[in-house]
Point group: C2
DNA sequence: CGTTGTGAAATGATTCACAGCT
DNA sequence: AGCTGTGAATCATTTCACAACG
């Protein structure tokens, strides 16, 4: 395959946003969109949109723009969500349960294959259409259902150990909700979501505006 | 105040990570830390750490490093979390409840002042030590308790309208969990957390490693 | 001596601006 | 005419490397 050039990291994040927006536009009946329109909807320049997409191929039609459905299909292919990904949730506390119950993942190419916890009090409880399973079952489920993604929703102090267990079980990447940096062998990507970090970003941004600065 | 120079956006995100790491180090008994150690813990260069901190002042001691407790205090001051921020949660679904029940916010300078929903079936239910309140109460609570932050956890289709209601009620910034881009008047910062976007980032990163590339 | 803070250099990302396609 | 794809130019961020300091 013609090896694609080097992709800026911010570009990948925007691909998800393009996809989300295009799915909305498609639902709204739009069949074609140009880089200006897509950029306006996401507060980006048209050049940014074109450049981002052009890293992956030539999807547009000069004089017309992009076919919404085609571009959705391309973006899914690029992101890898044109085929379903199986994921396990570890930690059946507030966040683990909320994520498991979040219904919209299936339509986005992600399937929850199981939810796990080490607390015997919790094991067996129902969460959505799953039952909380013991950690001992983890490797089996990951192996049998070709689970590639682990959603880590355990307390911070357990996060590192459980992350290692996930990798040992065969998971290929981790979405980490625990407020701890994980160190794993290279080649196992980690994406982190930390509520406190997000709130601190917001607090800082608000403080800036209160000192008279303007932020778009 | 001596106007600080222009702060790179990535720097602000790292400040939160520095703070988190320093709090861990402090708990572990560390009293002093240098830029190399802090960088290693977060997978950053020592120069990056020093430059980030130097945007805000001179906190280090040549030959020694940084006093952990002092630096924690400085970072809290910079981020604004040296005094508590009041926040409301709107939407008492899975995510809204999980966030409301997440106990660790108080210690980080954030207090949940109330949780709201428009569904009469849900109003009155207990979530943690709160009861779900009707949207009509929103402006009152925001005004009386000096609420600056709104956590938006409603379905995507309601997000824009509820965001506008939050701003009208007097909220100064929004943490948005809904998979929709919000458009609000300038000066109201928005930080977004989208589970699907995070999973897509992860899927893309995993796909890269499966094609032989190595990613640290 | 070890470590900070910081200009200067290098790298990375975005925007400009236009040739070329439909 | 309208819009894409893309080199070149600009702008932003990171890294280098070292003088200054305790």
């Amino acid at each position: 395959m013609a090896g694609r050039g080097k992709i800026p990291r911010p570009t990948v994040k925007r691909l998800s946003l393009y996809l989300r927006e295009l799915e909305n536009q498609s639902t709204a009946g739009q069949t074609t969109i140009n880089s200006r329109q897509l950029g306006d909807a996401l507060d980006l320049t048209d050049a940014q949109v074109r450049k981002d997409l052009a890293y992956f191929g030539q999807f547009g039609h000069p004089g017309i723009g992009y076919q919404v459905l085609d571009l959705i299909a391309e973006l899914r292919r690029i992101l890898g969500t044109d085929h379903p990904w199986h994921a396990v949730v570890v930690g059946a506390g507030n966040i683990g349960r909320a994520v498991t119950r979040y219904g919209r993942l299936g339509g986005k190419g992600f399937e929850i294959a199981g939810i796990f916890d080490s607390d015997p009090e919790i094991i067996g409880e129902a969460v959505d259409r799953h039952r909380v399973r013991p950690m001992e079952d983890l490797a089996g489920v990951v192996g049998e259902q070709d689970v590639k993604i682990g959603l880590l929703a355990v307390p911070a102090e357990d996060a590192q150990l459980v992350a290692e267990a996930l990798v040992a079980a065969g998971v290929r990447g981790i979405l980490n909700f625990a407020p701890r940096r994980l160190v794993l062998k290279p080649g196992v990507p980690i994406v982190s979501v930390d509520l406190t970090v997000s709130l601190e970003q917001l607090a800082f941004a608000i403080s800036l505006t209160e000192d008279g600065a303007i932020d778009g």
